[in-house]
Amino acid sequence: MIEQHLAALPIILPLIAAPIALILGRSMLTWAFATLVSALSCIASWQLLMTTLSDGALSYALGGWPPPWGIELNVDVTNAFVLLAVSAMSTLVLIYSKDSIEKEINASNHSLYYTAHLLCLTGLSGMLITGDAFNLFVFLEISSLATYTLVSLASDRRCLTATFRYLVMGTIGATFILIGVGMLYMKTGTLNMADLSTKMAAFESNRTLNTGLAFIMVGVSLKLALFPLHMWLPAAYTHAPSSVTAFLASTATKVAVYVMIRFIFSVFGASHVFETMSMEIILMVLAIVAIFKCSYMATVQSNVKTLLAYSSVAQIGYMVLGISLVSVPGLMSGLIHIFNHALMKGALFMAVGAVFYRMGSVNIEAFKGLGKKMPLTMAAFTIAGLSIIGVPLTAGFVSKWYLVTAALEQDLWIVAALVLLGSLLAVVYIGRVLEAAYFQEPPESQGAKNIKEVPWLMLMPMWILVLANIYFGINTGLTVEAATSASQWLFQGYNPAGVAL
């Protein structure tokens, strides 16, 4: 029974749980409930990944309506892999939230927070596994609306302007996607992705379809914060509550990257997008500029959350760069980085949230001397920071390794060199925080003596992520296997359709 409906569980569980969480009302109770639900969908995702790894892709018709008329859920290795990352991050962030939001969100809004979080998880899971282009837009809106709510919950009033801008930009992005999907529907009369792909093959490079592609690419680029459409992101990440930032930074943009991969490879076909439309040029240039410009922006920030937000935009540059290489290893490096970046950014933002919990500020001033006062938190920050830099034995190294190898394979020397140079900027921005934490004396004030470690419920998820960073840096078996089979499958399965165009 459950086996049969496994594919729907990651969407249905949090969706049903969200209103229940609102009704439960009491902070402690909703926390436990939301965490449990999130953990269950994490287990379901794990099952899905294992099933797809052994049996190949799954198709599930929602409500029993067969595709292409009904909504189809498509679970393959690629999205099961990202889905696992998303639901695992959601669970860890929820564990972390209990203490973290006490300091950052008014007690009356706590149940609202958990509800919005569950809805956001629903939307993200839906975007990942749906096989229907319009349904994807619906899930995108569910997750976006939930995200706006989450960002605006912070007690700092500046979050409202940030949310408003985010809302405007997010809506423009979603609208663009809708316009694009509309154009596809106009021409083909279908919304099912697999069906779209085969029907589109019948058209010889049609202008409407190509305009639709352009709209979708811009819309998705906005959602995934590709430079120069990233401008909503630093403000939103800075002013959102820490646990929200940790969740969004490690999941929302990653899912959008996946949506881009999905549209390129399984709807339009890689050869059409890259050969006919030459989109890899735009993507590669933007990705490289993102890496440098935003890494540099990160080095001069004084607010550590803003610093990490810029770093996120730069890291998205690495993922998009991997996609723009148009090769199996390139796509693989992008997919691995989606997973690994979730691990490191999640840990970093959790550590910063822990600093806020004790210091009430995330300015770099607040980090002075914390190496002695909050050793565990700062050690977590250090290791996750090393992972961002790409030091061997951390997950970040594995991503960079594959990216550089993929670039070298195509004799793109400069790209490989730029990737390594970009890492040097990461040394600077992470180094600035570490310098403040370990080499500067804390300012003299009365409260400073009482600074101690944060509660263990905050430390535990943080350290799970840190250990995962090290584990996936040493044992690359799972990540590489999943990403390899995923990217090979993407190129094999859908190139013929693209070639036909």
């Binding site: 811009v218 906005l222 020397w413």
Partner: protein
């Protein structure tokens, strides 16, 4: 031995570092003294071969690969760290102890690394751990100097990484075997990157400034560790990766010769030793560049000896600094009255570095020299001879003379703490034993098969002549009052070997080179500073203007429009 459970070679020292972090008092001292011994016994028990090999991202890694070359350096590093730990044991500073032991562990790990990736990991660890020995001096100057040191060391690591990525791509293997510089296409760049990465750590000319900048700023005990490991790991890496690369001969000769001029005009005696360190590495690099079995043996044997006698000299100067707080040649003098034991030990070190027969320097330096002659490098041989005389002058005479004799500075102190004396004595005994019985000690460890007899007529006679005439020149100059002790920082150019070049010219050239180098460095630094200042307000610790803003919605929408147009245009073009 086989029934013991053997450990990866770096583990005992790493354990020691951990123990130093958590333990205190006599317990810590005991553990710290025992770990190098356990470590040495552990590698004694290791058979040659590959251990704990594993698959990583489709490549075979060999975290521990034991052969005669790595064993030799393994023993050396354990001996060196034991002596240095004895020397430093009186210190209460946890930071220094932990950093020093972790640093030694990284050095051991690096020489037992069977693949380039493992080597890279330890390569970076060497940089990260050693910098704390400089920062532990806790002065602003040391902090700045340590930061410069760290940047250059990390740069070397990044180059190694870039090089090994290319290497892995081309050869589909990460194993650290002979690399060489002769390759086609992309592999050429990879080989050069690795070469330069090694070169930076090895203090090649123009890359050497980190060494003379940072080592004299480290703590008195920290310098002993620093002088023993980093550059020797690089020498090891060259011996394994680039034996017989002709370019190395000429680089090595340059390294052997140019520091002499700087060493002569330098007043800080520890900096003099830092220059002399580069000079000694020059000899080793020449040996590796020649690449015959005798030359390579000479190079690694010299590395072995150099760690011990340079350590000894550094320790005596550290003792002087520790007891008097002064290290400039012009402020010291006459210390033999109050530190007679240290004086004798320093002279033993000086005799070893000058390669007196029966002292350790002789048995290895003459190997390299005779290999140079045997391979027809006559010019190289002459230059090395000049360098050897220069060594005798600045390290063999200048150091002991200005610290312990010369004109009496009036400083009255006592002998250093007992543990320092013991450490120095250990090193001095090692120098004499190796020098007198090379076949039973250092020669027994040599990795390549070659027979060599240091104590024959030619070698001994050449060396004695050289030393005798150098000493004569010094005495003569002193008698004629051409060696005024009041101005020790300028008079030292009056050495008959390069007197013809006129001391002023040398100084001018040296300072001109130094100036233009500094000016170029300044220009680069200033332009970087300018960019940073435009975007960052250092006083308020905040980003400025453009960099501090979050954007308005309209800006963002404009970009959306531009990108859409770009996508569409690309399609119509």
């Amino acid at each position: 031995m086989n029934n013991l459970i053997l450990l990866p070679p770096f583990l005992p020292l790493l354990f020691g570092a951990l123990a130093a972090l958590f333990l205190r008092g006599w317990l810590r001292n005991t553990v710290m003294l025992i770990v190098p011994i356990i470590g040495a016994l552990n590698i004694y028990g290791l058979d040659t071969g590959v251990f704990w090999s594993l698959e990583f991202m489709g490549y075979t890694l060999e975290p521990v690969k034991v052969d005669k070359l790595s064993l030799m350096f393994g023993y050396l590093f354990h001996i060196a760290s034991f002596i240095a730990i004895v020397y430093a044991i009186h210190i209460k500073d946890t930071l220094q102890h932990v950093a020093a032991l972790a640093y030694a562990a990284s050095a051991v790990g690096a020489v037992f690394a069977g693949d380039l990736l493992t080597l890279f990991v330890f390569w970076e660890l060497l940089a990260l751990t050693s910098v704390f020995l400089i920062w532990a001096r806790r002065t602003d100057k040391a902090y700045a100097s340590g930061l410069r040191y760290l940047i250059i060391q990390v740069l070397s690591g990044v180059m190694l990484l870039a090089g090994l990525l290319i290497y892995a791509q081309v050869n589909n293997s990460l194993l650290f075997t002979e690399i060489g510089l002769e390759h086609q296409g992309i592999a050429q760049i990879g080989a050069w990157l690795i070469f330069l990465a090694f070169g930076i750590k090895c203090a090649f000319p123009f890359f050497h400034n980190w060494l003379t900048d940072a080592y004299p700023e480290a703590t008195p005990t920290g310098t002993i560790f620093l002088a023993s490991f980093t550059t020797k790991v690089a020498v090891y890496a060259f011996a394994r990766g680039y034996p017989g690369t002709e370019l190395l001969v000429w680089i090595g000769v340059t390294m052997a010769c140019f520091p002499i001029f700087f060493a002569v005009i330098e007043n800080d005696l520890r900096r003099v030793l830092a220059y002399s360190l580069i000079n000694q590495i020059g000899f080793m690099i020449v040996g590796i560049g020649i690449g015959t079995a005798v030359a390579l043996n000479g190079a690694v044997a010299h590395a072995f000896n150099d760690v011990i006698f340079k350590g000894l000299l550094m320790m005596t100067m550290g003792a002087v600094l520790h007891m008097t707080g002064k290290i400039n040649g012009s402020e010291l003098g006459g210390l033999y009255k109050s530190m007679p034991k240290t004086t004798i030990l320093c002279i033993v070190g000086a005799a070893s570095i000058s390669a007196f027969p029966l002292f350790s320097g002789f048995v290895s330096k003459s190997m390299i020299m005779s290999a140079a002659v045997a391979e027809g490098y006559d010019v190289v041989w002459l230059l090395l001879l000049f360098a050897a005389a220069g060594v005798f002058h600045h390290a063999g005479i200048k150091i002991p003379y200005f610290a312990f004799f010369a004109h009496d500075s009036g400083i009255r102190t006592t002998e250093p703490p007992r543990n320092m004396l013991i450490a120095m004595t250990l090193a001095a005994v090692a120098c004499v034993v190796i020098g007198s019985f090379p076949a039973q000690t250092v020669y027994a460890l040599l990795p390549w098969e070659a027979s060599y007899q240091p104590y024959d007529l030619t070698h001994v006679l050449t060396q004695l002549q050289l030393l005798f005439f150098s000493a004569l020149a010094f005495v003569w100059l002193n008698q004629r009052n051409m060696y005024p002790p009041e101005l020790p920082s300028t008079n030292l150019d009056a050495d008959w070997f390069y007197r013809k070049l006129a001391p002023n010219v040398i100084k001018r050239v040296a300072s001109a080179v130094n100036h233009s180098y500094q000016r170029a460095e300044l220009a680069v630094v200033m332009s970087i500073k300018h960019i940073i200042q435009r975007s960052y307000d250092a006083d308020k610790d905040e980003p400025r203007g453009y960099f501090a803003r979050f954007w308005l919605t309209d800006t963002m929408v404009v970009w959306v429009a531009i990108l859409l147009v770009a996508y569409l245009l690309l399609y119509y073009i």
